[in-house]
Symmetry: C2
Subunit: 492 residues, 2 copies
Amino acid sequence: MPKHPKGALLQNLGIERGTSVPIYRQIDASLRRLILEGNLRPGQKLPSTRELADELGVSRITVKTVYEQLAIEGFVRSKTGAGTFVAEGLDVKALPDFQRPRRQPRLADTVISGRARKIMPSKAAVRLDRIDPFRPGVPALELFPVKLWNKYLLDAAISCDRQNMSYGEIKGQSSLRQSIARHLINTRGMQVDPEQIIITAGAQQAFVLTALVLLNPTDTVWYENPGHIAGREVLEVLGANVMPVPIDDEGMDINYAIAKHTKPALIFTTPSHQQPLGTTMSLSRRLMLLNYARESGAWIVEDDYDSEFRYRGQPLPALSALDSERSVFYVGTFSKSMFAAIRIGYVVVPPAFVEAFALAQNLLGQSSSSVVEKALSMLMDDGKFSDHIRKMRRVYRERRNVLHDCLVTECADSLEPQPTDAGMHMLAWLKNNVDDQTAHRALLDVGIECLPLSVYCTEPLARSGIVLGFSGVNERHMPKLVRRMSETLRTL
Amino acid sequence: MPKHPKGALLQNLGIERGTSVPIYRQIDASLRRLILEGNLRPGQKLPSTRELADELGVSRITVKTVYEQLAIEGFVRSKTGAGTFVAEGLDVKALPDFQRPRRQPRLADTVISGRARKIMPSKAAVRLDRIDPFRPGVPALELFPVKLWNKYLLDAAISCDRQNMSYGEIKGQSSLRQSIARHLINTRGMQVDPEQIIITAGAQQAFVLTALVLLNPTDTVWYENPGHIAGREVLEVLGANVMPVPIDDEGMDINYAIAKHTKPALIFTTPSHQQPLGTTMSLSRRLMLLNYARESGAWIVEDDYDSEFRYRGQPLPALSALDSERSVFYVGTFSKSMFAAIRIGYVVVPPAFVEAFALAQNLLGQSSSSVVEKALSMLMDDGKFSDHIRKMRRVYRERRNVLHDCLVTECADSLEPQPTDAGMHMLAWLKNNVDDQTAHRALLDVGIECLPLSVYCTEPLARSGIVLGFSGVNERHMPKLVRRMSETLRTL
């Protein structure tokens, strides 16, 4: 190896003064690049700290600090009395050319796993960057009591002591689990011990957790068709064999599934308000489902996503309230009753599963912020959560009524709205054999964001329709929006 | 079916006055129970609302409301002019006896999936309910600027408008991604576009995300042995085939893995500060690893969990900073640099993977609270995060020094501390063939919570040792604690 007694001449360090990058970092980055690109060869001597400092017009201590850092990282080695040398034994020639533009393959070209491929296409129908009127599942954010919530958030932050700064309770703060248990006992007819509740970052994470604990890859899951989009995706990505079960007037058609499908490890259902058809599962169907689960050893996931909003009678008790055999995993969320960004949901699990779920939650990395959990708990305990639900129930009932009337008046030739007694969205069947994807795209072009019924399906339905979220649309704007909808649909 | 013209005599409704349960709900629950237990038979007539109201001494409207709710739920049917009847066709005899105590199987008796079985045993060594001195990974919470943080939290809450109440940006708030990008450019030598960053609820969730996108079940993963406990568990639960790779003086022994193992889909490594041995991966090993990844098509996960805390020279640049081929997925966390309950971590992914990761994150159910994300971003942009890191670096260096000195002075006969220049924990090798699980249990009994080295291993090591977290222990308490440690170890 040639060694220059005076050290390499470093004339292309390219130091610029007056930029925001400190001189120290510029020298450091340049030396690194010269070594990694092979322009400073292994074993080559660097200039002495004094020489380089003089040459660059910087202090000697600056250069010394850079050399020390490079030595710590193994780019150079200092030999006492002899100077500083580029490290030998670095396989730099094997390194790619740093000057060459970096490889930026399109996603389709990358080696990406089967799981990711499953994730990619399914989301195509849902825009993620903005929300237009009638998108399903959007609460009336303009009526949310932001100031009140911020007051609770601040109170929670102040009352959090250093005990609350560790990972904390895996299952979520016990105060929130107590508040949720009371809420479920009072409004959903359930018998819940707070210890059975696992707080998650929304319903979606509860599905992931449930699938991770209860399912092995290739296990069969009976799933409503049409059914909850994101829940199905979770199950598919985790490897489950998702079997579509049709919906009739009484809810999920269990007899059809028994006749057609293999025995399930899990049955996923939305009994309070079928997602998206809006059917309420009848009592006899509920009992049939529970009996079948008991006999077959299947577990049931009850997704109770918008049960707070019932416009006739009291909210129905949960399926879970009838479940004396402890085979139901009940999933709830605050994304609809509060707002999505709160990122809090939960799953109520049978007592025997509490430990496994807590450990799985720990494995997924626990999720909610403890301050936000505490604030929500305080809000609930003060009755402000119920107040908000009651207020929203009135608002959403009115919005449902107005939308239904507008659809009947304005869209009689193109849409047949399905009456609904609950929830935040309404299904409207398309007339004249209009394809729902076509309708969806045409309406999106005029700023109306319904979802095509077919995105909820694994098997096509006999009729096509669109799902219209009414909760997030001010009723005063509805007539105009529905007229626009009517005009657009008439052109198809 | 027998029908009583006057309706059933309901003498066992068991209504109690003066309890916190409203009369309405007591009547409702009693009727439900009588129907579900078969004591009110299908088709049987109920008393008229007037009769029952008189009998119970409540208003007729109360009874009417109960009947209406039961009718909505399908428990009873009202026939105009004839009265209210228990619904027919309910398969109530198939229902389990509600009087019987509910089945409460122990976990081992339940049908629980292979995944859950994998989760269960692995956590045995880690207590989750409390933290005792020397538990690894615990920051100096008593020195955290709680008031300052709460100020930022409040400012963030106030500045959040209704736009921030929706699901928001899937990848996390762009302001925080920008702050993190700047931090990584300044301290880790990386070239990062904020668009490459996906915010997660801690490093753990970043591992889940990465495994979901990059791996198919049964794919091979090369994993450091000993190595990060939770990361390994995530991979195993998701079905990966985790192969142990030993650590030598230069870090993960790639040549050993090439010779012994099948080609990996993923290589998981902690180059800055090997978890838990503390080795820093040499430059030549880094280059070898990157070259191998490029040639074999493997992806690399770089877990940079405590790189902020380096006590000699500047923090080393990340492995990712050398990665011109874009094969490294860089995982960082604020659990150590801030506090665990903040639940914010991130993964920096190659540009081609941004979309897949965002969709997978959406599938997992996005996680962090947007208010907390915003507060953290503001704290970072104001330089307060760097201030805190600098302060903690001084504190932890001192704690490391004191622990090392105490171990040398007090435990010379039982422990050999491994010098470390970084991080929050120190490895101490056990002398006299003491088993590390035995040492762990004995120390736990006297309130000292180290971790046995063997819980980090899939293959046993030649020597046993304990991992001592020093960052969370006040240096003034160390001499006493280490003396207690010495006395306990001497008895083994």
